[in-house]
């Protein structure tokens, strides 16, 4: 009987210590992340980033995304719905974080399409057709042209733009900023300069709801 008690006490101790240590570690991490964001607002809010929504919107979401990332594709319509819920209140800046192999080329095409005013259309077409051109977590560059063919892009111009040093620099800057902000997974969201306390759409929605409520107060 005594042995059983010792064993049960040990199991409870282990579980309690694990849970306490985990919550302590998580709290420290989120404080650290908040500090990091505070110190690096410049890296977060670059003027070069493509932005959708009302330019004077009080709520500013910065999203680091990868066109080849499945979760990014799933979040895209949800974020769009969130913007529709609060018309004119939200603007979203899209930052490139091409972490998947081959994705950097695709990002260049998106940036070149942006020069032709087709940023949103290109992103939507690529997200919608993602499973046809992302195979085994690798972006297949040859396969993106089918989905993009409906946009009426000027191909000659596009190919010239995607290899321009300017586009390359912009993507390098986004990647460097992602590193500064400790973005290691996509999508990653910041709402008015604040990171999500924990990854998830509910967490994003909550931050946005709070920011909109704050902006609505006189």
């Amino acid at each position: 009987m005594k042995q059983k008690n010792i064993f049960v006490a040990a199991v409870i101790m282990l579980v309690v210590v694990f849970v306490l240590a985990a919550s302590f570690y998580k709290r420290q991490q989120s404080e650290h992340a908040a500090q990091l964001v505070q110190q690096n607002q410049v890296a977060l809010n670059r003027a070069h980033a493509p932005t959708v929504g009302n330019p004077d919107a009080p709520v500013h979401i910065v999203e680091f995304f990868d066109p080849a990332c499945g979760t990014c594709a799933q979040f895209y319509p949800m974020v769009k719905q969130l913007m529709a819920n609060y018309p004119g209140k939200i603007r979203v800046s899209m930052r490139y974080a091409p972490f998947h192999p081959g994705s950097d080329q695709v990002v260049k095409v998106i940036e070149a399409a942006r020069k032709q005013g087709q940023f949103k259309q290109a992103v939507e077409a690529l997200f919608a057709s993602q499973e046809t051109w992302v195979i085994n977590h690798t972006a297949q560059f040859d396969r993106i042209w089918g989905p993009l063919s409906g946009l009426g892009l000027q191909m000659e111009q596009l190919k010239a733009d995607m290899h321009s040093p300017e586009v390359g620099q912009l993507i390098q800057q986004d990647l460097a900023d992602a590193k500064t902000m400790n973005v290691t997974m996509t999508p990653e969201f910041f709402v008015n300069g604040q990171p999500l306390p924990k990854f998830g759409f509910d967490e994003l929605k909550k931050l946005v709801d709070e920011a909109v409520a704050k902006a609505n107060k006189p």
Binding site: Q3, F7, A10, L14, A22
Partner: protein, 142 residues
């Protein structure tokens, strides 16, 4: 229960405790701190995690034969941990490392007090468990 089997129960219990601590620690590194385990770490996990279950089953009711089932696992785990330790210490050249992709096993992710790395902790745990189980084995009345 005789005194002798009481103390061998205690030895197996402490071995279980070490295995449980090592398992909790490994899970803390990967699930809470987000360090992805390298290939060699996975092999050590494969031989460490089941010890928590097997040794616990051997404690209630106490079955001295549990050392017979647990020690082979410990021996293999110890061998992998020893290899991993030599790898991180640089005593085995990196090109011999089986980790060509993903996280290199020779990369040290945690170093406490200047010498306590994750492979070293794993090695110590396997050593402690094997010592305790061997002691329990010879302690048990035949």
């Amino acid at each position: 229960m005789t005194e002798q089997s009481n103390s061998s129960w205690a030895l197996v219990f402490v071995a279980w405790l070490v295995a449980a601590l090592a398992t909790a620690g490994a899970l803390f590194f990967s699930e809470i701190m987000g360090y992805a385990p390298c290939v060699l770490c996975w092999y050590q996990r494969i031989f460490m995690f089941p010890l928590v279950v097997i040794l616990a089953l051997g404690l209630f009711p106490f079955d001295p034969k549990v050392t017979r089932y647990a020690l082979p696992l410990v021996a293999v785990g110890l061998a992998v941990a020893g290899y991993h330790l030599l790898l991180t210490a640089g005593l085995i050249p990196e090109r011999m490392s089986p980790c060509v992709q993903g996280i290199p096993c020779s990369k040290v992710q945690v170093e406490w007090f200047g010498f306590l790395t994750i492979p070293f902790l794993s090695f110590l745990s396997f050593i402690a468990i094997s010592g305790l189980l061997i002691a329990a084995h010879f302690h048990t009345p035949k």
